[in-house]
């Protein structure tokens, strides 16, 4: 039966080639545009560390005086150096790391390579086990190295490729500025996106090439990169001059394995704030936050407004395309009402007619859907060649491929149901009579 319906459908569609093409094209354009933008949105709002992000938290405390530069009730988005060290040394979490961003000058041994600057992260030892960074060679440093201000670094695979041709460089030396470091480990390709642990350096497509113990970096006055917010008589510093005590410029992440521990940690932050207020360092009543990774990303509204706007536009466009196709399909079915009347009169049931019409609209939807998928691939290719920082991320993953398929089928059914239902309401006799 299906084969016969398909035959009828193709026959009917072939009769109005231009119209069929128009319907298919409209659906394809609509689906292509929405899938392209939805995929970008999906990629940008994704979980940077699946499986881990639920137990990673970003503690915030409020050390500002009453006339803070930062308006609103939320505490600052980073920590002062002093608070960071205090919380780090308190060791109240399962793991904790204090960090900030920077840039370091690399002096290659090879004379063939000119010196160059790379992005760096100054952090404490737990960074690596806490974020589950994958190592290609070696490993991170330990807490004792932190305190000893060890001259050790971890580099990423890109820098390892550039300097050592991809060979195992663990134990070899690296000259940064006028200091010699020992390479402790080489990261595998590891670049969480969004760059959740420090959004000030750019949210997407950003990867540090050198990881250096925080105290070592500050000791050597390595350059700081990122956002600095100050209040009172604080000044942000510049280059080798670090921000003042009344400035926030550090990020602090903790791992808390159970919700109970997270609740305890929040209590600890409140207690810490009260203690600091008693000491005269804090002025305000305790104002703390403890967000996990996804809560933090959503609070920071990391997905660009333009991307959300584009997704909205694309779905608006899809809606217009669908309405357009429904209208055309309906007009087409009603035009063929005479033929339908004949089939009804010859004994075809309403259900049979409905099924036949649905096959016809389904064919349009399916072809449109396939076209839409191809257009989405093309659209993503275009996005990848645009200069935005998330360009490289725009790929169709299995989830989105499946969603595209569902959307195409759903759209075509939607576009087919109403016209098919409306058209098979025809009384057979009436149609025959009018002809």
């Amino acid at each position: 039966m299906f084969g016969y319906y398909l035959d009828l459908a193709l026959h009917s569609l072939k009769r109005n080639k231009a119209l069929t093409a128009l319907m298919v094209l409209a659906i394809a354009l609509g689906i292509g545009a929405s899938m392209t933008t939805l995929t970008v949105l999906h990629v940008l709002s994704g979980d940077p560390l699946p499986g881990r992000s639920g137990t990673l938290y970003y503690p915030q405390v409020d050390p500002r005086d009453n006339g803070g530069l930062l308006p609103g009730k939320e505490p600052p988005e980073q920590l002062t150096y002093i608070d960071g060290l205090n919380l780090l040394h308190a060791k109240r979490a399962d793991r904790q790391a204090l960090m900030t961003g920077g840039a370091v000058p690399i002096q290659p041994d090879s004379a063939a390579l000119d010196p160059f600057y790379v992005e760096a992260r100054y952090t404490t030892a737990d960074f690596f086990p806490m974020f589950g960074t994958r190592f290609r060679y070696g490993q991170g440093w330990n807490a004792a190295d932190d305190e000893a201000k060890a001259r050790e670094v971890v580099i990423n695979s890109e820098l390892n490729e550039r300097l050592f041709g991809g060979a195992n460089s663990v134990g070899r030396t690296l000259r940064i500025g006028d200091t010699t470091f020992r390479i402790a480990g080489v990261l595998d390709d590891w670049a969480p996106s969004p760059h959740f642990y420090d959004l000030n350096t750019g949210s997407y497509g950003y990867a540090e090439q050198v990881f250096m113990p925080l105290l070592t970096a500050l000791d050597l006055h390595m350059d700081h990169n990122g956002s600095t917010d100050c209040w009172g008589n604080g000044a942000g510093g510049a280059g080798h001059i670090y921000p003042a005590a009344s400035c926030v410029w550090m990020q602090f992440w903790v791992q808390l394995d159970t919700p109970a521990k997270a609740a305890d940690y929040k209590e600890f932050l409140i207690h810490y704030s009260e203690q600091q207020k008693a000491l005269g360092r804090f002025v305000k009543a305790p104002n703390v936050r403890l967000r996990n990774v996804m809560q933090w990303l959503s609070y920071e509204m990391v997905v660009p407004d333009d991307v959300r706007l584009q997704t909205g536009l694309a779905f608006g466009f899809l809606l217009v395309c669908l309405v357009n196709t429904v209208g055309l399909m309906l007009a087409k079915f009603l035009r063929g009402a005479g033929e339908l009347g004949v089939r009804r009169a010859l004994g075809a049931s309403k259900r049979a007619l409905f099924a036949q019409l649905l096959v016809e609209s389904g064919v349009v939807g399916l072809v449109g859907g396939i076209g839409g998928l191809l257009l989405a691939l093309l659209g993503l290719w275009v996005v990848r060649h645009r200069p935005s920082d998330y360009a490289a991320l725009a790929h169709l993953d299995p989830t989105m491929l499946f969603t595209t398929f569902l959307l195409a089928v759903g759209a075509s059914l939607l576009a087919g149901l109403l016209p098919a239902w409306r058209a098979c309401q025809i009384a057979p006799a009436l149609q025959l009579k009018s002809n």
């Binding site: 000119d114 510049a238 007009a331």
Partner: protein, 409 residues
């Protein structure tokens, strides 16, 4: 034109007619908002900076090994740059208008104020407004002897010994008007942190580095701090537009020669900098134009398709009307009026929808209210598209010969 027969025909095609009205309404609503957003972006992209953009180039360097004396390093660099043929003026600056990453300070009129009155972009650099061509409208520029080394100032701030800090500034007209509406800002003072600063000069305009919001984009000031050479500072050079490439090349070579132990992190004309700042806005405007074209095309084709069907379906009726004395013009006008009616319904619905979408956008995307001028734009576009789209099928309808009435289809 008698509307009753048209309306009664449409009543017999209720579903189809409503679908077309809905399509026109959606298109109209989206087009209104999209045109408005394009206008908004274009206006933002044409923001004035108050400087001689086409005459400027920027060079930024980073030391491999920190200089023992960053101030001497910068002085020597500036001297070297001044020697280059074609260079008219040079300055060291912490930022340039529309550069993106920025340095800002909270401004208070009263030291006891809980929240700052505004946040302003803070430029540091001797000879900076002169080099950038930011025009002075009142008072004077900062004098070389007023500039202090940054580390001394930062140390004084940290210890609270702020008595001897440079207490003068040059601000923009926009910032002056916001702080003291309707008054002359010259000689007035405000606080940056605990330090009182007196306005000695007013610039016509100088956009800030993070000029994302048009309302606050022109709040800038210049403070007499000298930061010396570090990777966050850059040299801004003024020359003639046609000499920019040559001067840029010569400047990089001269700076590398003066101190080879550093890498060039930026070398570009100011025009390139500006283009980069508005890159996303330009892309978004392009996308919006694409959406408008696509929407209008799809809707127009939809109207053509539907009208063709209706014409085909009504051949007999048209034939009868022609046989009863209707002229070809009557038939043509019939279909045109029908489309006009449908478009009008759609447009009315679309206006309401457009207003709703705008309210949503205002809530979630900090977009201003849709000005009333955009409603007729959408309406005219849809009416025109509708009339154009229906013309073909309507002409075909008008050519249906009266003899059709006498035949069975």
């Amino acid at each position: 034109m008698e509307l009753r027969p048209i309306l009664s025909t449409l009543r017999r095609h209720k579903t189809t007619a409503w679908l077309l009205i809905l399509e026109i309404a959606l298109t109209c609503a989206i087009v209104c908002n999209a045109v408005f957003m394009i206008g908004h972006r274009l206006q933002h992209m044409h923001m004035s900076t108050g400087i001689v953009e086409h005459d400027l180039v920027q060079v930024q360097l980073a030391e491999i090994v920190p200089s023992p004396d960053v101030y001497a390093r910068a002085e020597e660099d500036l001297a070297v740059l001044r020697q280059i043929p074609g260079v008219q003026a040079v300055a060291l600056t912490n930022q340039l208008p529309l550069q993106g990453s920025s340095s800002n300070a909270g401004i208070k009129l009263d030291i006891a104020q809980r929240q700052p009155t505004l946040s302003a972009g803070t430029y540091f650099g001797e000879n900076l407004p002169q080099t950038m061509g930011a025009r002075l409208v009142a008072g004077r520029y900062l004098q070389p002897d007023e500039f202090m080394h940054a580390d001394i100032v930062l140390k004084a701030l940290a210890t609270g010994d702020t008595k001897r800090l440079p207490a003068v500034t040059v601000i923009t007209q926009a910032m002056g008007q916001r702080l003291w509406p309707g008054q002359n800002p010259l000689g007035k003072s405000f606080y940056i942190g605990p330090v009182p600063v007196r306005v000695v000069g007013v610039l016509a305009d100088l956009a800030r580095a993070n000029a994302y919001d048009d309302a606050t984009a022109h709040y800038s000031m210049i403070l007499p701090l000298f930061f010396g050479a570090d990777k966050d500072q850059s040299y801004v050079i003024r020359t003639r537009p046609q000499d920019r490439e040559a001067v840029l090349k010569a400047a990089v070579a001269a700076l590398k020669k003066a101190d080879p132990e550093r890498v060039v992190t930026k070398q570009r004309t100011y025009d390139e900098l500006r283009e980069k700042f508005f890159e996303n806005d330009r892309a978004m405007a392009g996308i919006l134009i694409g959406v408008i074209v696509a929407l209008l095309t799809v809707t127009a084709l939809g109207i053509v398709g539907l009208a063709s069907f209706w014409v085909g379906q009504r051949r007999r009726t048209i034939g009868v009307r022609r046989a009863l004395g209707a002229t070809r013009g009557d038939i043509l006008r019939y279909f045109q009026t029908e489309n006009f009616l449908l478009a009008t319904f759609g447009i009315v619905l679309g206006m309401v929808l457009a207003y709703g979408i705008n309210l949503f956008l205002m809530l979630h995307y900090e977009l201003p209210r849709l000005p009333a001028i955009y409603f007729p734009v959408g309406a005219l576009a849809l009416w025109a598209i509708g009339q154009l789209a229906v013309l073909g099928p309507a002409l075909r309808a008008s050519r249906v010969p009266p003899v059709v009435a006498t035949r069975a289809v």
